[in-house]
Symmetry: C2
Subunit: 482 residues, 2 copies
């Protein structure tokens, strides 16, 4: 007797498929052995309360797929199981091609963290205070209004015209940038922007310069695709190009705050960089990832603002302004560059989700984004000031500068203290800290640098004042152990 | 007298920036000439009703940026404009690096169309009948429930666990696929899926086989990255692998309906293909883009279903089930392949927007997607039947098969008729048709094929019955002219 359970709820899949799949599973699992005869179709149909034709269809397909054979007068019997099925399916490499066995070289860090701890995650914004009501209103509006204009329109372009207009009129002017729609490409965030750019630029060869410690996942995109990386030091005036970097094709910079140290590129270095790019026919990639968060003064205008020669490719993102998992960003560049990037990105992934774009356009136009930023500047400044007080009180030997903007402290440890040890001790106390080592990867990006073990990063984007109090309370005895 | 308009509304940008930018614009436009002295800061401040310090800041920055110079006793005067500014900014190549002047090789077609016409767009679903109310409810739920669990969680993974679960439990079983969460990667649609796969596979070299005419944008991703393409013919049983294709590393197939012709891969060819992949240690990419739309019988189970050796990489998408501009899809493959793809895609773009994923998960779980599919199957079948009647009546010489599924007719023209001519004549009458030439690109993908000019494609995914009547009414006299 064959035990078959038919799902007869309204959403059931076709009966013949259910019968087919359940019998096949029994065969694969060895519960129905080769030579075993299946019950006559008429009998099984009666048992299951379905039409005989349904069972016949299932049996026919089982034969077609090689699990059974059927002979007039003998009914349907289970076949010898094909050899393939008998291989050990628990062997992880089984079915995995030999030529693919090497691992990939992709080492991009994720922002993964331990949710049991209070974590000072760098560069993650706080979603708890997002303007949820406005966000719901805007998405409702988007869904209502955008049929069929938005959802139905699927054409190769540089992004949703409404979002592009909102960027040109409301967002970019706050960074001193005057751009035309043809200078914009909407992307899925800055990592995606840099991938698309690297697909355009890397085939031309040459070098890319970048500051270290720094956010290496972006230059890595170019290096992975064939460019040579030139790591440069970062001092109190921002990235300091070495002579080896002068003739770079690409300079990757974060002028407002170099991540993670937070230095602002000085006006002198800005002019020199623009001049250098002009002289060497080079491009500058300006990653302006969190300049919206400033606490002392308005940020300097973007480097793109002084870019009279059109050498600067500006990367903007909503990851910090709103939230990381939104995956929405944009590139501002020469229209001829944008035109090529549109070709590349269409082949890559067919564009950014239009509903996301229109949604964020609505949020910008309504002023909700700007209001959210104003509120978050106040919150982040309070957190920053609170952390500064605790650091002065509990760890007077640590050396740091009060961040004028951004979402993290960069702390230099005194001689003899090890970031690794401190991270471990903090983890034991339920507090997550980050080490500078995360931004000096021991790979091709950055040769000749000894292991980094003397910097800490404390992010305050995604941690409340209450959590800050609790965390430092837990760290109160740490000083004695380091 | 300097004419400066200050924006003093609540959302204004800082006054010093407004002053700075307006003066700079006057200099760049030549309205303030070199040597011209700016009004004393005290005077301008009074005129504008701002603090003197504000004007001084603007002047200081103008000097820093090289637009002005300042001398004690002489005030601030306009400098010689830097040479850069004087270059012709209308020259499109100005500021565009010489080494980038070549065009890209990316030729992926967009689904662009003329909105003045009634268009039989292939492979585009109808957004007019989307379950808007359910979609709004689901996104509202998503935004309310998902703080901070979803929005705040930004960690490298293979996708939103809820969407993955919904796929494993509700979507994939309808295609006969039993998959574990570790076998899934959420992507931004099938084009994106194929890009990520090509980044993993192409560096290993070898060949990729695919059917022609067909959807070439996917094999192109592999060929662009270094693999050799082997174009194979497609007959009534689906793709027919040529001998040159036997040893391919990758076979790209659309078993349920080969696009755009619509043939279903026969059971014999399915078995042979799986066997071939096993013998040659190869992988099969199964693009299952619109099997949800069937009109005569349930579709055959996915090739992935019979994939006992784990050789099949299954590509699913919501582009047809919901809408193209959503940009959401998934890969089902061996967990070891998924693990590597996660690395690649994290470096590429940092994951798919979580809010989109959770939204669609809610829509699947609520049953709204399945109900939408049931309704659309009925609509699409009606449209198909209506078009069939018109084709029989008006163009009896054209040869075609009634599509058993999918969203388009593939029409063969009789000797002496030219697709190009028919497209032109239809366009004159306000009707948009597609030519088979779109799926036989004259590039490296497909050598040795003469220009395609004898097939038409009529898509009925995004065209109403009323529009179908109107369109054929306009085409009523066409037969006389071809």
């Amino acid at each position: 007797m064959l035990h078959i359970d038919l799902d007869k709820t309204p959403k059931h899949s076709p009966y013949y498929l259910q019968i087919l799949e359940q019998i096949r599973t029994l065969i694969i699992l060895g519960r129905l052995l080769p030579g075993k005869r299946l019950p006559p179709s008429r009998q099984l149909a009666k048992e299951l309360g379905v039409a005989r034709r349904t069972v016949v269809s299932a049996y026919e397909e089982l034969c077609e797929q090689g699990y059974c054979t059927s002979k007039v007068g003998c009914g349907t019997t289970v076949s010898q199981i094909p050899e393939l099925i008998q291989k050990d399916k628990n062997d992880n490499t089984y079915g995995f091609p030999k030529w693919l066995l090497t691992d990939t070289n992709y080492t991009c860090h994720s922002g993964d963290w331990d949710t049991d701890k209070i974590c000072f995650i760098p560069s993650l914004s706080h979603v708890k205070y997002l303007p949820m009501k406005k966000m719901r209103q805007a998405i409702n509006q988007t869904i209502i209004q955008s049929i069929p204009d938005v959802l139905g329109h699927y054409a190769r372009n540089n992004g949703d015209p409404e979002l592009i207009q909102a960027l040109c009129q409301q967002v970019l002017p706050t960074r001193g940038i005057q751009a035309m729609p043809s200078q914009i490409l909407i992307t899925n965030g800055s990592q995606h922007s840099s991938s698309i750019l690297s697909m355009l630029i890397s085939p031309c060869g040459g070098t890319i310069s970048y500051g270290v410690p720094g956010y290496l996942a972006i230059p890595q995109n170019f290096i992975m695709r064939g460019m040579t990386g030139v790591a440069c030091p970062v001092d109190s005036e921002g990235i300091l190009l070495t002579e080896a970097a002068y003739a770079s094709r690409i300079h990757y910079v974060m002028p407002e705050h170099h991540f993670p140290q937070g230095m602002t590129l000085s006006p002198e270095r800005r002019s020199a960089l623009l001049q250098l790019a002009e002289e060497h026919d080079a491009l500058i990639i300006e990653d302006d990832y969190d300049s919206e968060f400033y606490y002392e003064r308005h940020p300097l205008p973007a480097l793109k603002d002084g870019d009279l020669g059109g050498r600067v490719i500006y990367l903007g993102t909503f990851s910090k302004v709103l939230f990381n998992s939104l995956r929405l960003g944009y590139i501002v560049a020469h229209p001829e560059i944008i035109r090529r990037l549109v070709d590349i990105r269409w082949q890559l992934d067919g564009g950014t989700s239009l509903i996301l774009q229109r949604w964020i356009a609505q949020l910008i136009i309504s002023g909700a984004v700007e209001r959210h930023l104003r509120r978050m500047r106040i919150r982040y400044r309070k957190r920053r000031d609170l952390i500064a007080l605790y650091l002065q009180e509990l760890f007077p030997e640590w050396s740091w500068q009060l961040p004028r903007g951004g979402m993290q402290f960069w702390i230099e440890l005194p001689e003899g203290q090890s970031a690794e040890t401190i991270l471990d001790l903090a983890a034991e106390r339920g507090v997550g800290l980050w080490s500078g080592a995360n931004f000096r990867e021991p790979n091709a990006c950055e040769p000749n640098v000894t292991a980094e073990n003397h910097h800490l990063i404390l992010g305050y984007g995604a941690i409340d004042e209450f959590e800050i109090h609790t965390a430092f309370d837990r760290l109160r005895d740490l000083q004695q152990h380091i």
